[in-house]
């Protein structure tokens, strides 16, 4: 394929650990073949080559955590036909959104840097869709190689990849793993969390910590809280767990708020 006919692509990162770009670089056996199908215009972590202009596809990882992030995101959106959020940071803010609505940015700044809020241009961490139109979201912390490869090859063929709308439990059952929540009483978040990881943690005898995020509009958070309370976990522990990857989810925020109001009331009494 001539260079001019290849889809123009940019790979960008906002605030995060760089893990989703790294998962792309980790596709070692197919990496060169895959990248050769694209005309790469911007890939800060992997290349010094950079070219302005329109992009067919922008892959963006990382959360919007500073005003600079927001400006960059708007620029990327402006020049891209299709914008794909890769990884939890770009979808929901991931772990750095854990205390959203609980701890102000001023308090975080004071605790970590010992300085006032306006020292750096910080924003409460959020996913890209809070600010711009996102055409596709690929979940995970980090993304799964198979899933991104499938998505990219689908797009190369002109198809829109479909998202997953069922929980980790489905994959756990298909693998025949014993249920760590029911049988061992471990605080597994599998019932709430988007599948696609092939139930990796239960397969290792561990409880799901929710790194692919709650299933959009499907997760029944209140039911999970009830089960974990019955298993003997206290509310503080449960809400911390739900917030690891769910700090920006409405249900989690509302339930945490109710819990902290209740605790404050009890303390007053």
């Amino acid at each position: 394929m001539a260079e001019s006919e290849k889809p123009k692509i940019g790979i960008f990162s906002l605030t995060g650990c760089g893990g989703d770009q790294l998962m792309i670089l980790n596709m070692e056996p197919v990496l060169l073949e895959l990248l050769s199908r694209f005309d790469i215009k911007d890939f800060q972590e992997g290349s010094s080559y950079k070219e302005e202009g329109e992009l067919d596809i922008a892959l963006v990882e990382g959360s919007v955590s500073t005003k600079t992030d927001l400006e960059r995101l708007k620029e990327i959106r402006e020049r891209s036909k299709m914008l794909i959020a890769i990884g939890d940071c770009a979808i929901s803010g991931c772990v750095q959104a854990m205390r959203n609505g609980q701890m102000s940015m001023a308090e975080r700044m004071k605790k970590v840097y010992g300085v006032d809020e306006d020292y750096y241009d910080v924003l409460e961490p959020k996913g890209l869709s809070s600010y711009v139109k996102v055409d596709l979201e690929i979940p995970g912390c980090p993304i799964e190689k198979d899933e991104i490869l499938h998505a990219i090859t689908s797009l190369l063929h002109g198809d829109m990849p479909e998202g997953i709308d069922y929980p980790v439990c489905v994959e756990c059952k298909l693998n025949g793993y014993p249920c760590v929540l029911v049988e061992k009483g471990m605080p597994c978040l599998g019932p709430l969390i988007t599948a696609g990881c092939n139930a990796r943690c239960p397969g290792l005898g561990l409880d799901c910590i929710g790194c692919r995020g709650p299933i959009p509009e499907e997760a029944n958070v209140a039911a999970e809280v009830k089960v974990l309370l019955e298993k003997g976990y206290d509310e503080k522990y449960i809400f911390n767990r739900l917030r690891f990857f769910g700090g920006n989810f409405e249900d989690v925020q509302n339930l945490t708020k109710k819990f902290s109001e209740k605790t404050e009331k009890e303390e007053e009494e």
């Binding site: 800060q44 972590e45 290349s47 990382g62 772990v95 605790k111």
Partner: protein, 427 residues
């Protein structure tokens, strides 16, 4: 006349950083390494989290050195609660950190640093002229990632290494598969040494450097409880605050470190130079062959030191696997942990240098305060020192020459900027 020389955004490094150097007449007035990666405040949001899941969160500070963060976190927790792990766990952890070193160094040495010296903007374009070398480098990186996958559960943000041991012990077959990959790819690690030993490594940043590395004990390695300094002193990791002396600066989201009032370097070059007598086998031979190049004055030699560590790490993975297999793999489960109100400090050598974690726990084992000091934050002041030295030496050169020099210096440190933005001090 005032000249402002700027590297707007560093490329082929992890995260977002900028360099600004101001020259007035014949004098270098100001040098700034600005890190504008957004701060993430890990130490603030980890408060009140129960110890058992703390490593799962803290490892997400960084992707390239995820296992370094998780092992530093686990060691810190185990130090706080006096947990003693089994011999098998110790060897599996040693295997994991050596695998991480291979994955990270292979990426840095071949894909990020080497294009500078062969005249390409990236490894993808470099592959058009050096297809065999780039493919071999990807195989070496893949071998490192096999360790991540099998021992830790996946390449990035694994979960199998826990406080007290491993959730699931790898099978004999899986370990043998890693061994086969390591044996096959060792020549590539040796090729990395050859390429950097033969490359024209610039000397424009040559100057005095203070070096720091962990004392790995009897053999060369990446975990330890004491810090070696090139002034001949040795300190327990618990004293890290007096070794790092961090301060907040307006121009960077990473704090800056100093030791006895001046900057210092951590990373592969300090490790090799401070622990050279502990190298064995091919890595020891290669060190001997190139020891004249490996001087503490030229931080750009960090790439060559990383290449020697690649060879060491490949050999060590094979050795660890042989010991595990000859001892026989045991499904031991996790050691019992009794949390208590206490404080722990733990350190490992991440690919880029010493990484410290420090936690204070309440009686239930929940975090009261946390502090993390990353290698890139420690190196930032030394990088500024090197830009200054280079700018002074090259003051008559055109701007683009200086920009190129600054980028090459920055890359030699293999900065991991995501890691560096979130630091605090326990008061």
């Amino acid at each position: 006349m005032k000249r402002v020389i700027e590297v707007e955004e560093l490329t082929r490094v992890e995260g977002h950083g900028r360099i600004e150097v101001v020259i007035e007449g014949t004098e270098v007035k100001d040098v700034k390494m600005a890190i504008f990666e957004g701060p993430r405040f890990f130490e603030a949001f980890i408060e009140s989290v129960h110890y058992e899941k703390v490593p799962d969160i803290m490892r997400r500070i960084c992707a390239i050195c995820t296992a370094s963060h998780s092992l530093a976190s686990i060691r810190t927790i185990e130090n706080a609660f006096d947990v003693k792990v089994t011999e098998q766990t110790k060897i599996l952890r040693d295997l994991l950190i050596h695998g991480e070193m291979i994955e990270s160094h292979a990426l840095h040495v071949f894909m990020l640093a080497l294009p500078d010296f062969l005249g390409f903007p990236d490894a993808i374009r470099m592959a058009s002229k050096y297809p065999k070398e780039v493919k071999a480098a990807l195989q070496l990186k893949h071998a490192g990632n096999m360790v991540h996958n099998i021992v830790s559960g996946r390449e990035v943000h694994g979960m199998n290494e826990r406080v007290g041991g491993f959730s699931k012990v790898p099978s004999e077959k899986e370990l043998k598969d890693i061994r086969t990959a390591m044996v096959a790819t060792k020549p590539t690690a040796e090729l990395a040494v050859k390429l950097f030993a033969e490359a024209e490594i610039p000397k424009y940043a040559e100057s005095e450097n203070t070096l720091m590395a962990l004392d790995p004990g009897e053999k060369f390695g990446f975990m330890g409880d004491y810090v070696l300094v090139s002034d001949g002193t040795r300190h327990p990791v618990q004293d890290y605050l007096s070794l790092t002396n961090e301060r907040t600066v307006k121009h960077s989201h990473a704090k800056f470190s100093s030791y006895k009032g001046s900057s210092y370097m951590v990373g592969a070059l300090p490790r090799i130079l401070l622990n050279k007598d502990k190298l064995e086998g091919t890595a020891a031979e290669l060190y001997d062959e190139h020891k004249d190049l490996l001087t503490s004055k030229n931080t750009l030699m960090n790439n060559l030191a990383q290449a020697i560590e690649l060879v060491h790490s490949v050999d060590r993975c094979i050795e660890d696997i042989d010991i595990l297999l000859s001892n026989g793999l045991k499904d031991e489960g996790l050691v019992e942990v009794e949390p208590k109100a206490s404080r722990g400090v733990g350190a490992v050598e991440a690919p880029r240098g010493i990484l410290y974690h420090d936690y204070i726990f309440d009686e239930n084992g929940c975090i009261v305060k946390a502090n993390v000091i990353t290698p890139t934050a420690q190196n930032a002041a030394n990088m500024e020192k090197d830009y200054r030295v280079a700018a002074e030496r090259m003051i008559k050169e055109p701007d683009e020459k200086l920009v190129e020099a600054f980028e090459i210096i920055a890359r030699a440190y293999d900065p991991c900027i995501s890691c560096s933005v979130h630091l605090t001090r326990i008061r």
